[in-house]
């Protein structure tokens, strides 16, 4: 209940200024935005509905994020466990890590142009979802999601108690079993934290990527397009949706994390 106090104050202030301004191209009324939000399937500005834009953005994020996890987790396990891999990768990683994923967007656009996954398979001008997943965007999302996943995995592996490793070895585990039965489950809570943070960053990055030229769908694109047409109610509704979907994604991973690592929260 207490959590509702601040949103109500914000909404009231907004409504007050909206009435004062009396200009929907500057600040729409709360009711106008809510009206947009309760009709998620209605076409907007001839670009498709909210649901379509969210689906496009989400499929870009999910694909890039899966890519980041597929590469980040195994690489993190190796770098965390073996000094050889640590020495091989850590200079590059320390150099690339401070580089914001958004800084890569112009570069990715220059390299990948507007090639989509559909183009890769020779299906140009297709209307299916793969025609909307640009390689440049995938790359930027991958980059944004990779570091949190990778670094948390490394941290998880490095924090595995020596006691567990020695116990397992004496109880007959070989290196392969040790990885599968001790190091991985022991690092899992940390890996899941990485996935959660990584997914959050991927979602932020895709919005930024979609705002740049070369895209004609996605919730980030919708924001810029509605700005250009001074459709402020669509713009604000889109922003609210971005927040809601981001929170939902984060919550989904958290539920998964809590279920697989009860032991971690309760330890001590």
């Amino acid at each position: 209940m207490l959590g509702l106090v601040i949103p109500i104050i914000i909404l009231a202030t907004w409504e007050f200024f909206a009435i004062e301004a009396n200009n929907p191209a500057l600040l729409p009324r709360v009711g106008d935005v809510v009206n947009r939000l309760v009709h998620p399937f209605t076409d907007l500005l001839n670009t498709g509905s909210f649901v379509r834009h969210i689906c496009v953005s989400a499929s870009r994020v999910v694909l890039g994020f899966i890519l980041a996890a597929i590469i980040g987790i195994p690489l993190g396990l190796l770098v965390g466990r073996y000094l050889l891999f640590h020495r091989l990768f850590s200079p590059v990683i320390e150099l690339l890590r401070p580089l914001c994923p958004i800084a890569w967007i112009p570069f990715a656009m220059a390299i990948f142009k507007t090639y989509t996954i559909a183009d890769m398979f020779g299906a140009h001008y297709t209307t299916n979802i793969f025609g909307q997943i640009q390689l440049g965007m995938l790359y930027v999302i991958f980059y944004g999601g990779f570091f949190p996943i990778f670094l948390n995995t490394v941290h998880g592996v490095k924090s595995v108690k020596h006691l567990y490793i020695e116990s397992a070895l004496l109880l007959g585990a070989d290196q392969k079993k040790l990885f599968k039965k001790v190091i991985f489950p022991s690092s899992l809570p940390s890996i899941l934290t990485g996935l959660r943070v990584g997914l959050g960053i991927s979602w932020m990055v895709i919005i930024a990527a979609e705002m740049l030229p070369g895209s004609d769908a996605g919730i980030g694109y919708l924001i810029i397009f509605s700005y250009e047409l001074a459709e402020m109610d669509i713009l604000i509704a889109s922003m609210i949706l971005i927040g809601a979907v981001g929170a939902l994604l984060s919550y989904g991973v958290k539920v998964l994390a809590d279920r697989t690592s009860v032991w971690q929260a309760k330890e001590r």
């Binding site: 006691l163 567990y164 020695e166 397992a168 070895l169 004496l170 585990a173 009860v262 309760k266 330890e267």
Partner: protein
């Protein structure tokens, strides 16, 4: 030929300032099959290091160790070490912890659970199979650790102050339980403790270690009938004797450091 032979081993570490620290030197003893051997000594005398060497987690700097006539040259899976700290895998429930070694041996789940239940019963934890370690008290966790070690069926069971962190009543109960297990399973046990009372209650033979450097200087055979009564004259006599030896070691140390 004895079951476990420790022959003139020494262990030197590099300290924090790269100085040489002699943890153990000229340490020798034998242990017979089925014996319950206790090693007592002041804190920091290298008792834990000694167990780690027997388990093959570390190699001695000099000397050699042999178990059942086989030299210990690396990880020694004929032994299992129960650590002082709680070492259960926190993401596995009780039965899956106990099963760990059986799983490594690729024994099918049904057989493995059947076997594990036997050991869980043995340490008095029937009904807790599905509990996760954090749900158990310290004493219960150490019982599971012992059950897990027994399920591995080692030739030699090594225990490093397993009851050190427990309150006295729990400790006494677990000591009695461990003796019961030892009598039933006929395992050879090397048990390290700094608690004299615990050593006399459990051991068939007690070795007393001195520190700086760690070495075994005295041995005492305990012939008291079991279960041993902590207030019996015989028990107290052994207690006083060990106490005297330990005090001698400590005063000798003090003299050295004041010289």
């Amino acid at each position: 030929m004895s079951f476990l032979r420790i022959n003139n081993i020494g262990k030197t570490f590099l300290g924090e300032r790269k100085e040489k620290v002699i943890a153990l030197s000229d340490l020798s003893f034998d242990c017979q099959d089925g014996e319950f051997l206790c090693i007592v000594g002041p804190t920091g005398c290298g008792k834990t290091t000694l167990l780690r060497l027997i388990a093959g987690l570390e190699r001695p700097s000099v000397g050699d160790i042999a178990l059942a006539n086989t030299p210990v040259l690396g990880l020694n899976r004929e032994t299992t070490l129960v650590f002082q700290q709680y070492s259960l895998f926190p993401w596995r429930n009780v039965i899956d912890n106990v099963c760990f070694s059986l799983e490594m041996k690729k024994i099918p789940k049904k057989t493995r659970y059947l076997k594990a239940r036997k050991f869980i019963d043995l340490v008095g934890l029937a009904g807790f199979e599905k509990a996760l370690p954090y749900e158990l008290s310290g004493g219960m966790q150490q019982r599971v650790a012992i059950a897990r070690a027994l399920a591995h069926n080692p030739k030699l069971l090594l225990l490093d102050e397993p009851f050190g962190a427990l309150d006295e009543r729990t400790r006494h109960r677990l000591q009695a339980e461990l003796l019961g297990v030892w009598q039933k399973e006929r395992k050879t046990v090397v048990f390290v403790t700094h608690n004299i009372d615990e050593a006399i209650f459990l051991a068939s033979r007690i070795l007393i270690m001195r520190d700086r450097p760690g070495r075994i200087d005295y041995e005492i055979k305990v012939d008291l009938p079991r279960p041993r009564d902590r207030r019996s004259p015989g028990f107290l006599k052994v207690h006083i004797k060990i106490r005297e030896i330990l005090e001698q070691i400590l005063t000798a140390n003090n003299k050295e450091s004041t010289l």
